[in-house]
Amino acid sequence: MNANIVLSLENITKKYPGVVALNNVSIEFLEGEVHALLGENGAGKSTLIKAVAGAIPIDGGSIHVGGQTYHQMTPHLSRSLGIEVIYQEFNLVPPMSVAENIFLGDRVNEKRLVDYAAMNAKASEIFQQFDVALDPTSRVEDLSPAQQQIVEIAKAVSKKVKILIMDEPSAPLSVAEVEHMFAIIQQLKQKGVTIIYISHRLEEVFRISDRVSVMRDGRYVATRLTQETNRKELISLMVGRELKEVYPSRTVIPTETVLQVKNLSGNGDRDISFSVKKGEILGISGLVGAGRTELAMLLYGAAQIESGEIWVNGKLAHIRSPQDAIRHRIGLLTEDRKGKGLFLEMGVRWNISFPIIRRLSKRGVLDFQTENDIAEKFTRRMNIKTPSLEQRVINLSGGNQQKVVLAKSLAAESDILIFDEPTRGIDVGAKQEIYQLMRELSDHGIAILMISSEMEELLGMSDRIIVLCEGKLAGEVQKEQFSQDYILDLASGTH
């Protein structure tokens, strides 16, 4: 290597009571490279970042930056060394302006009072560098996730970042927005900034990274030049075994229409019509903000229907609340599992049984035995890895949390399931299990509506895809016509 090593981690170890989260991890990062960090959930990527950022103390090992050796990091120290982290949950103050957020905690000049004019000008300057049109005076809470991310990047740049760590940066973004983010990363790279890019999405790793390091079970596994490796190798390094992302094929041909939506409007969506057959998987594609989740909320009664009709099993269904939807055996897996899908402080049993807890009660009184049986059944069926049914779900990994959400809707015995980003932020292994399960469900005659931003899984799993664009139905694509380009054309409204 002829580039300089800007950050070197040596034998980093982090122990928590009963577990070793990081076990002698050593990785070197070069100046101006995009270095992807791969690993399944719980592999220790996040812990490693936190150690580098000084958010947690380490139990052993050392961090070398700029010729100095540190045995312990603090947030302040890592900042002063030019290390910035953009976490999955943004660290922004929503009611404050873009510029105020960028310069939070910093002074733009020596004036005694806050110099808003200078602050806004400096913010604009950064945005211009990246060719972004963002008003420094607009409030952060009014921005889209993609725009908020740009504010985070700008914040890091304003702090003279040398090493930028991005944790799953593409998760909240649409395809087009990811492209834009890549462009910004390229510019930062040209300035000599090192980017540590954490992602589950292998295709992104190949698109953007120069090198890739893989972690598994708190250990460092290997580093590869991105050009010299391939998908299969990375997956096997990640899971420690050969694993292909296969989309299980169907065995039953759907015929009978179970859900029919006629000219549905509301919640920002306009005049949407489609139908789903029993045992069919209908993919719903579109860019972020195209109204996909909004459509799910309409169908589930969680948002007000302004006009149009929903027919379930050939009968007109009046769905005004989630209760109505549940009564019509419609289930929803929300995209925001922590915010809307789970009771994080409660146990696995509690969460799984919650939607049917009323049915499980006799004259209002709970039947703990039946509840336990059901929770146990689904924990086993979904292969949820938990020490006990009483384990609080906040302690489970992302993949297992998602399985709890799934178990919840399965326990409710829905005929129609709406899956909103069912595999977001979960690892390859768990993804595979969820695909398998979706296939099983559809084989058993359950109709599935799957909203996804991952084109590959959408094409792989769906029998048919409808594409939304700006709250309207842009088109319906049959299996024979499936192609990424065609769907993207429809989604971006250029068709």
């Binding site: 928590y16 009571p17 719980g42 969680a302 549940i326 809307k340 906040i394």
Partner: protein, 333 residues
Amino acid sequence: MKMDTLKLSNMRTSFGAELRKYAPQMILVALVILFSIITPRFLTTYNLLILVRQVSFAAISAVGIMFVMIGGAIDLSIGSQIVLTNVLLAIMMAIWKVPMGLAILITLLLGTLLGVCNGLLAVKLKVHPLIITLGTASIFKGLGYIIANSRNIMGFPDAYRWFGQGYIGPLPVPIVVMIIVALIGSFVLTRTYFGRYVFAMGGNEEAARLAGVNINRMRIILFAICGFASGITSVLLLSRVFAGQVSTGSGIEFDCLTAALLGGVSFKGGEGTIFGLITGILIIGVLNNAMQLASFPDFSQNVVKGAVLLIAVGFDVYQKTHKAKETVALVKA
């Protein structure tokens, strides 16, 4: 060998967790021991019954506020509800000569209705219940003052004394009522689907809504339960004081709230047990009673009460962050 160390460390954390779980109970026991040493008159059956009766009134309302709090809201209007229902009950019996049973029934209904008002306002205006009940507190209290018209209302049927002053066996009636209310409250919260809904609402309102819980209806019901409980308190308190005064019940919500927080009911909702609540109320009772016995000046009692609350809540937050750290460990594991 490795297994053994692992098991041991698990045991240690779970023992620590157990210990932390019973922090309020330990505080209570420590206080009892402390005051038994300071004043010999403290640890007698006679005194303890007085002590518990003293707080039994607030305890009943506290069960009500606990439902509201676990559901993720707050009711600051409890004391004012009691002021209003108390004055009305006094007037009904003393002046309008409404039969006692009917008057009590009307009071309970009225209490419930005041709760429904709080709930409806919170749901319809979509304003934080803290603000709503701050407003209704002022209204209820004001109405009580208007109706009372600076009178000291007296002349109730003699049988009415029983509620606040009578005994069932060795136990004062308010204590018995408190026990019954606490048992019912505990049963509803832990053994019924309604209880699950309450915890769910407080734990994650949006998730509860999407799981089919009618949040608005639940919110109104919870405030109604709180109002009903305060109706009971009102009936007992008037019998205890045996004169209709606007001061009765005023400010009782602070004892209820303190007891709830001391007992581990989360201010954010989704957490709390009746056992904890009763412990909290007993801590307040012990502090009140023992400091009177030991003739602490009134004002210093306030200081101690406040300090105990801050220590208890501070400890709670400390153990939560501790728990959160363990959680991080597990997630990353």
